[in-house]
């Protein structure tokens, strides 16, 4: 029987009661659908569905993870300096600046994709500017390119990178930075040897929060891409309701989950999870 700090014992069942709602919730809304999806994926072909669907969609699978990886790296490149400035130079404006980071979330995801479509469209300001300065010809465009889809993925998931990195940087003990400077470390060296390693758990968490939903995204590919920018989510969404393709699409859903899980495990193995922010 557990003993509380005040010396009173806690009944053995209390932790179970506390954890039960969450377990039931996940059981009903995650495990049960997953089991049903798993059974469905074995219909009409069994395990060969997995092999077939992976072989048939290998190009889309590779493209999906490539997009998600590039968007994650771009989010680190954009988000880390932003989080660093807010954490170290934000002063009293920290709250405001963080509010601005999450401001896009006040509009729906779909509307943000549509806004990008207008912005990058053939009659939009981006293409108009590029044509005006002579970089684009009359028929060139930004929509239906890898850049458009990856750019939108980066934009949409950037706050998921900034926030954990910010928290991680906030937790860095300033005295360690000062100690580094006292030991004749220049700003760059101090950053590289002290601040960066201590903030890596935030980068790790932000990378997971960016990469996982980006790999499952389909809205941006749908609105900003062409057939050459399709992602796994696009294929599943387009075909899941088709009766004859349901097993294959269920299998493809599992392939997507398995690949994301494998990637996350490798990443966790490399960086460790002990100090996650």
């Amino acid at each position: 029987m557990a003993v509380s700090a005040a010396g009173r014992s806690t009944p053995w069942w209390v932790p179970w009661v506390l954890v039960a709602p969450g377990v039931v919730w996940l059981g009903v809304f995650f495990v049960v659908p997953m089991v049903r999806l798993g059974m469905l994926s074995l219909d009409d072909g069994g395990l060969s569905n997995f092999v077939d669907v992976f072989a048939d969609n290998s190009e889309v699978v590779l493209r999906t993870f490539w997009y998600a990886a590039v968007a994650t790296v771009a989010a680190v490149a954009l988000g880390y300096p932003l989080a660093y400035v807010i954490a170290t130079r934000g002063g009293r404006a920290k709250g405001l600046l963080l509010g601005l980071v999450v401001l896009p979330f006040f509009t729906t995801y779909l509307l943000r994709a549509i806004a990008w479509r207008v912005l990058l469209g053939g009659n939009g300001p981006v293409v108009g500017f590029l044509q005006a300065v002579g970089l684009f010809g009359p028929e060139d465009g930004v929509l239906a390119t890898d850049l458009a889809v990856i750019g939108a993925l980066t934009y949409n998931y950037l706050p998921f990178m900034v926030l954990p990195v910010f928290v991680s940087l906030e937790k860095v003990d300033r005295r360690l930075v000062e100690a580094g400077q006292d030991l004749y470390g220049g700003p760059l060296r101090t950053f590289r040897r002290v601040t960066l390693p201590l903030s890596l758990p935030g980068v790790f968490a932000g990378s997971l929060l960016t990469f996982i939903p980006a790999a499952g995204d389909f809205v941006n590919a749908e609105f900003l891409g062409s057939d050459n920018q399709r992602m796994i989510g696009s294929v599943i969404v387009a075909n899941f309701a088709k009766e004859f393709l349901k097993p294959q699409m269920s299998a493809l859903s599992f392939v997507l989950m398995a690949l994301i899980l494998a990637g996350v495990l490798v990443y966790a193995r490399l960086l460790g999870t002990e100090d996650l922010a």
Partner: protein, 373 residues
């Protein structure tokens, strides 16, 4: 499937579909699962495609409000059919168990209507409450999959052809062959509805879709795949093709007539053409589901729509071919001249043969592999 869907309508449709699905069990409880077909409720629950009634607004639709005034039943009308597959996916599990889903009438495309009939998910009409069924156009009065039109009745018929921007394309498009022209590389969209796109390609090959052989359809699919692999197509998609076409990101699209009638109202430069080798038509069929809470009311509604005077107003408004004899004669002179409403005897339209389950699966998988991966 066919009418143009604006973003607002798309989202509204999603919400309506979700609400309908969420409310279905409640409706069942409230109305009772009256599969006997008696008039158990005072409203008719109707699932239809967007833009298939006047103004897409049941509150102001003269057809629906007129029916309520004349017959006394309210109509719970929602644009819950976003596409055939998603509607079927949502409701077929209960229908397969012989249970009603709280819906009286649904409108689905030929191939799905045939599936609904084959699986006995629909009920036969009662001639006593639907006498105007005799007014159905002669060419739609019978089909191999519903002999004598016992359980399905056409709601609307449209055309599948080509819409394009002449100034962008730079040449006159007359045929599906023109959509494979390298000058349009990356600027063409095809429909992800297999029967429409493959049917048009088969016509280009000189094959008739109404007599489709699997080998011919597979050859057409192979041709589509070869062009897609070369980057000819921007997208092979459903309703959302109108986004690319409307924004002139796509210069030429395989398109549904209803969509283009809507788009042309805003963008008169958009041109509609039926391919020289032949065009496809589609028909969406109204049917009464098993377990319909108000079968008699549903039949009375269809009977009301099949009054030529009512049909004239409805189909003139939504710009689809009226499937009701005598309706065209009661339309305005302008509507009678509109080829989308009144195609005329000279226009040869084709409709894909109803496939067996095995053929359907084989072609669906081949088309999917060629266009969606």
């Amino acid at each position: 499937m066919h009418p143009s869907i604006t973003r607002r309508r798309f989202l509204g449709g999603l919400a309506a579909g979700g609400a309908a699905a969420a409310l279905a069990p409640t409706l069942l409880t409230a109305c009772g699962d009256d599969s006997s077909g008696s008039s158990g409720g005072k409203k008719v629950v109707f699932h239809n495609w967007p833009l298939y009634i006047e103004g897409d607004d049941p509150a102001t639709s003269p057809t629906l409000t007129g029916f309520t005034k004349a017959v006394g039943f309210a109509v719970d009308y929602t644009t819950a059919v976003e596409d055939n597959d998603s509607w079927f996916d949502k409701f077929s599990p209960d229908l397969a168990k012989g249970k009603g889903v709280g819906v009286d009438i649904v409108v689905l495309t030929t191939w799905m209507a045939a599936r609904m009939v084959e699986r006995k998910y629909v009920q036969a009409f009662d001639a006593a409450t639907f006498p105007n069924k005799k007014n159905v156009l002669a060419d739609l009065a019978d089909s191999p999959w519903d002999k004598g039109r016992t359980a399905t009745i056409p709601w609307a018929q449209g055309q599948t052809g080509i819409a394009y921007w002449p100034d962008k394309a730079g040449f006159e498009i007359k045929s599906m062959a023109d959509l494979l022209d390298p000058r349009l590389k990356g600027r063409v969209t095809l429909l992800s509805e297999m029967r429409d796109t493959v049917g048009l390609m088969m016509l280009l090959d000189g094959k008739k879709p109404e007599e489709a052989k699997v080998a011919d359809a597979l050859a057409a699919i192979e041709k589509i795949k070869a062009a897609r692999d070369k980057g000819q197509f921007r997208k092979i998609t459903g309703n959302s093709y109108t986004d690319d076409l409307g924004a002139q990101e796509a210069w030429a699209s395989v398109a549904w007539s209803g969509d283009i009638a809507q788009l042309q109202a805003e963008k008169p430069g958009l041109k509609w053409v039926l391919p020289a080798e032949g065009a496809m038509s589609f028909t969406d069929w109204a049917m009464i589901l098993i377990g319909a809470p108000n079968k008699a009311g549903a039949e009375k509604l269809l009977n009301y729509v099949y009054d030529p005077a009512v049909a004239a107003g409805l189909y003139e408004s939504i710009a689809y071919r009226a499937p009701v004899q005598g309706a065209v004669e009661k339309m305005s002179a302008e509507a009678r001249k509109n080829p989308l409403i009144n195609p005329g005897a000279g226009v040869k339209l084709h409709e894909f043969r109803v496939l067996t389950a095995d053929e359907d699966k084989q072609l669906a998988e081949a088309f999917n592999a060629a266009t969606q991966q």
